[in-house]
């Protein structure tokens, strides 16, 4: 938006640094027309850019939606692009069966739901401790916490695997859920950071008042600070849920029994199976509609939650004080 100098103080009568000045009315009208034109051009440009960018973001989703209901004939037909000649609901039925959907959905819900609850509880505790606790070595410990964010999971996957094997956690959900309750798990450090920033932004007076009234540390935290942290709780819960839901790497290492597979693991089997059946080379799969229907079924859960929670979610991120 290039409104330029004309939008400055010169367009309106006013007082700048004690010097009063008045702009002649005729000149003022001229300036305001130019001003509006600038504004209009700026806004149109912004709208154009935003719509363009939105398209890039929406395109894969639209593609997913449209393709998932196409027949294979429509898909390979170059004259059919967006509008299918016939809607193929069978794709969903087949994908539903192929993914062992009810069971995989339940597995995914259990794993990501429990992990998200664990991360909210433990990360908020740790975040509060780092924000308000005063103990020697706090900053060093916080640096270490942030450092864990940098460790690619693959660097420590082998020892973790050995640890879980000793504990008898392989092929159970414990490797996802237990670390979550200890402020670790998928991107746990990021969640500690979110809570720490949030609590740092809250006024000290609130806590002092509670303390003077005789509340202990835990009670102050539970009754005063945690209820205030609702935006941060929402953000962390949704991020954690979605990331655990979509996680492929860790489940693929720790789970063996197919009855325990989460949706992304099922999708992977489904994909490999389809490739074998159709005899296609990698990346040359012709029954893509079926695959897209399966992909849609995998993400539909988080997608629905996001669509419902989206308004609060985006506002919450801005209020978590993620930015210092």
């Amino acid at each position: 938006m290039a409104a330029g100098r004309v939008t400055g103080a010169g367009a309106r009568p006013g007082q700048v640094r004690g010097v009063r000045f008045v702009v002649a009315p005729s000149r003022m009208r001229w300036l305001s027309v130019r001003h509006r034109l600038h504004l209009l051009l700026g806004r149109s440009f912004a709208y154009l850019m935003l719509l363009n960018i939105s398209f890039v973001f929406l395109f894969p989703v639209l593609y997913l939606l449209v393709t998932s209901a196409q027949t294979v004939e429509d898909f390979v037909d170059p004259t059919v692009y967006w509008i299918p000649t016939k809607i193929q609901w069978d794709n969903y039925v087949l994908a539903f069966k192929g993914l062992f959907y009810p069971q995989a959905l339940l597995n995914s819900t259990v794993v990501s739901g429990l992990s998200a609850v664990g991360q909210v509880l433990s990360a908020s505790l740790a975040g509060y401790g780092f924000a308000r606790g005063r103990f020697p070595g706090r900053d060093v410990l916080f640096m270490l916490a942030m450092l864990t964010f940098l460790i690619p999971p693959q660097t420590i996957i082998v020892p973790l695997f050995m640890l879980y094997k000793t504990l008898g956690w392989i092929d159970t959900y414990a490797p996802f859920i237990v670390p979550s309750f200890f402020a670790h798990g998928l991107r746990g450090a990021l969640f500690i950071f979110v809570f720490r920033q949030f609590f740092r932004g809250q006024p000290w007076e609130l806590e002092e008042a509670a303390r003077i009234d005789g509340a202990g540390a835990l009670r102050t935290y539970l009754q005063i600070m945690l209820p205030l942290a609702r935006p941060a709780v929402l953000v962390v819960f949704l991020f954690s849920l979605v990331w655990h839901w979509n996680d492929f790497f860790e489940p693929s290492v720790y789970l063996y029994n197919q009855a325990r597979f989460t949706l992304p693991l099922r999708l992977n089997i489904f994909y490999t199976g389809l490739q074998i059946v159709t005899g296609a080379q990698a990346g040359e799969l012709y029954n893509e509609p079926l695959l897209m229907a399966a992909s849609l079924l995998v993400i539909i859960g988080p997608l629905l939650i996001y669509l419902v929670a989206q308004r609060y979610f985006v506002q919450s991120i801005e209020r978590t004080g993620l930015v210092e």
């Binding site: 960018i53 103990f135 640890l163 005789g214 790497f249 992304p264 799969l285 993400i299 988080p302 985006v314």
Partner: protein, 300 residues
Amino acid sequence: MSAQRRRRLLRLSLSQQRAVEGLIFISPWIAGFTAFALWPLLRSFLLSFQKLEQLVGFKTSWAGMDNFREAFLIDARFVPMFLDVVRNTLIDIPAVLVFSLFTALMVNLKLRGDGFFRAVFFLPVVIGSGAVVQQLQNQEVGRLSIVRSIEGFGTFLVTYLGPAPAMAVLDLLNRLALVLWGTGVQVLLFLAGLQSISPMLYEAARVDGATDWEMFWKITLPMLSPIILVVTIYTLVDSFTSVFNPILMYVRDTAFSGQFRMGYAAAMGWIYFAFVFILMVIVFKAAERHVFYAGERSQS
């Protein structure tokens, strides 16, 4: 009351008691850190100098620097793959930074329907972190929208830029849609940052006759610099730990399929981690001189 009595029993001063309370709050994290980060990290460091002899019972033998030597000198796949990942990341990060800042500036104009745009920009975070995106990527959805829609664009570039630069540009454009797809968090970070800049600064500049262009360079950018650092670090970490990262897939396959070469996988993991860490330090050092922190930051 009970807190007072407890303190008297333990004979702690108020500040000591506060310290203990703080430690109690982070004790779950300390336990988790020891078990799920520190110990595995040390163990994997040790493992990178070892060779797995037998999977059952996990018998290892000392291998010295063999694993590291193999990664750099013998393995024909590791080094090129590594360089490729580094190159792609270094190209992607500026693209992500510029794009997400630009988008945030646009959304911040308070246009009608900004709620819709924010929802759209965040959509990829919901869908975009796993197997589904990998499927979309396999189907080359990311490439459809930009390069294919402009007929003859590739040949045009080759003609006017020469083959090598043209390839670089095309390569970036090819990945652009997918790169942009990963910018939801960054756009929101920038948006929050933009909204925390005091409007008074702009008013003052306007009174002094500054143009919007000047205001962007002299106010918006310096005020945003701490967030630019946060976004850079986030993007760096995100791309280096993403599931699409070929190195990480290679490490996993080396460790868990076929011969279970866990010692070698650990060594590669450590080389990789060391590199990411060094890069991070460089970014911080470079940022030190350029990041501008407005005012005093509250001490807590």
